[in-house]
Amino acid sequence: MLPYGDVGLFMTQDDAPAAKRASPTTGVDVRSSIRRDSNRRTVLAALPAAPLLIFLLLFMVIPLGSILHTSLSDGEIDKALPRTTHALSAWDGEDLPPPAVYMMLGRELEAASSAGSLRPLGRRVGYELSRGMQIILDGHRGLSGDFDRADPQGWKAELIKAEPAWGQRGIWSVIKRHNGRYSAFYFRWATGIPVKIDADGRSSLETAYEFRSIYLRTILISLIVTGLTIVIGYPVAYVIANSSGGMAAVLLFFILLPFWTSLLVRTMSWIVFLQTNGVLNNALAGMGLRSEPLSLLYTRMATIIAMIQIQLPFTVLPMISVMRAIPVNQVKAARSLGAGPLLAHATIFLPQAIPGVAAGGLLTFVLCLGFYLTPALVGGPSDQMVSFFIARFTNEELNWGLASALSVVLIVAAGIVALPLARHVARHSSDRI
């Protein structure tokens, strides 16, 4: 890959033939000494990269692992109600559990309350059961009254009196299902499988987030942006790749300037440009074209336009570097053999430019899949993509399990798309400078 041979910073003193320094007596010794020396050189070669690799391992790979762990961790119910979940494993799920289980649950709710794990339990139950938090808290509150604590029937009556949902199957089936520390619950939720039930145990009609349509929307917006950046970027890359020195530098500068301008500032400029009393609407009104301002901001259109502007350099730069390597003479030869200009381009130039188009397109698509900032600021509520919901579940709803499961889905999807890209990115990413 690199133009020079076996040289490097940490090889300078090792280039004397290894055999000379090894014991001259036996061949075996020499061979093992060479191997040892070669191992030593490999270690020395890798040594300078070690700090960054350790850093990335510690602060990127392990955190990504903890996302996976969080997405599978689901221990709140079992932690707060260990004996109840165990006892419920014998329950058939049809009728109500026996009064002894009510008593066990009641005692565990009281223990959970004094251990401070009642609210986490309520939150977790609430993910799966409508009004789950309230059912847990009301049930616990109902136990503070005066009743015969030795009689299981008393516990049952108090719980159902405080919250009728304890007399239905829903809450019990949720508790029964979570008798372990790990489950695929957050993944089922994040892949759009209906997880919420009502107190009567039936599937809840209440649908909070339609993750499948969010994924579809993410893919759709990314595809549209990628397609349009290729359509716009291809001619731009072609002209830049085929311009001579000064002209190419100027054109490249126009591509790179927004590229190196703050992403936030570019997004802000779209807001200023498109908002209701913004520049574009005022210009239109000033020209007498429009009396009513157009609502351009917080629309799908604004999201896509702003994303195109921000992604275009990523698409164009790999294209340019591939196009620059295409021999000019081949197109000339095709022309001299009678092909028209467009035919010559389509049959000679375009096929050779495809790797650049693919690399630019893939890079853009992968970056679009995870795009957060611009859609969050420029798009409306119905234009938000997966990243937005990851941020929202992390920072606002504090549902880290779901945020993690969404992240895993996003990473896996982006990884599948990005895999063929990795080598190419490594090779061409220096072009952006």
């Binding site: 910073l9 890798a46 020195g245 703050s262 779209w270 913004g278 005022n282 200009p341 795009f371 992390t394």
Partner: protein
Amino acid sequence: MSRRVYSEFPAYIRIPLYAFVGIALLLLMLPLAVALPISINADPWFTYPFRAISLRWFTQLFSSPLWTGAMVNSLVIAVSTTAVATILGTLAAIGLVNPRFPFRAAVMALAISPMIVPVVVLGLGLFIFFSPLGLNYSFAGVVIAHTILASPFVVITVTATLTRFDFSLMRAAAGLGAGRVTAFRTVMLPIIAPGVAAGAIFAFASSFDEVVMVLFIAGPQQRTVPKQMFTGLREQLDPTILAAAAVMILLTSCLMAVAYNANRKR
């Protein structure tokens, strides 16, 4: 230069092609070109033409403790990030250009992956990882997060510089009795310095502009300029934000110009 393939195209294709490219490049610049001058509009409207020009938004920017505090935070975080990312990235690049490096392609992909992995996912991962360590809502946490995002820029830039470095110079230095560290300090570093400087500048710019990690990791004590702008854009857009943007653009374009020149000279 004889690479004028487009001259192979007849005028009826060439002229629309040029026009298309020209318009596309102009549209790329249009929102910025239109938005930034509004920072010197005396009136708090986002419209043209201006009735008067004034620097009142800049005055407001530099007199507001919220903004000046954010600027100090941004500078502290960006400078620390630059220092860490430049050292880690330069060393890694030196290792990675060595053909002997084991699993070089895979390691290079790992080193560059923070550019591709969605920032919200990195932010969530660090947030979860940091909570038991107490690094959330701390300067150290933000610097670590930014270093992850900034180091690929250094690795890429320095690797590109090193591919043009003549490694026989290192042998020559060794032949003259220099140890590895001396050879690195007196021979390699001065030659690759422009590339390292460019990498450092990109690292600085990426940290100075970063907001998503800050949203995840930082607390009110680590409020940066981008965070302040983000909040303003979400709640109430006022021209002070445009003044802040203008200052940011000015700073980063000065730095970029330095980086560009450093890279051209090498």
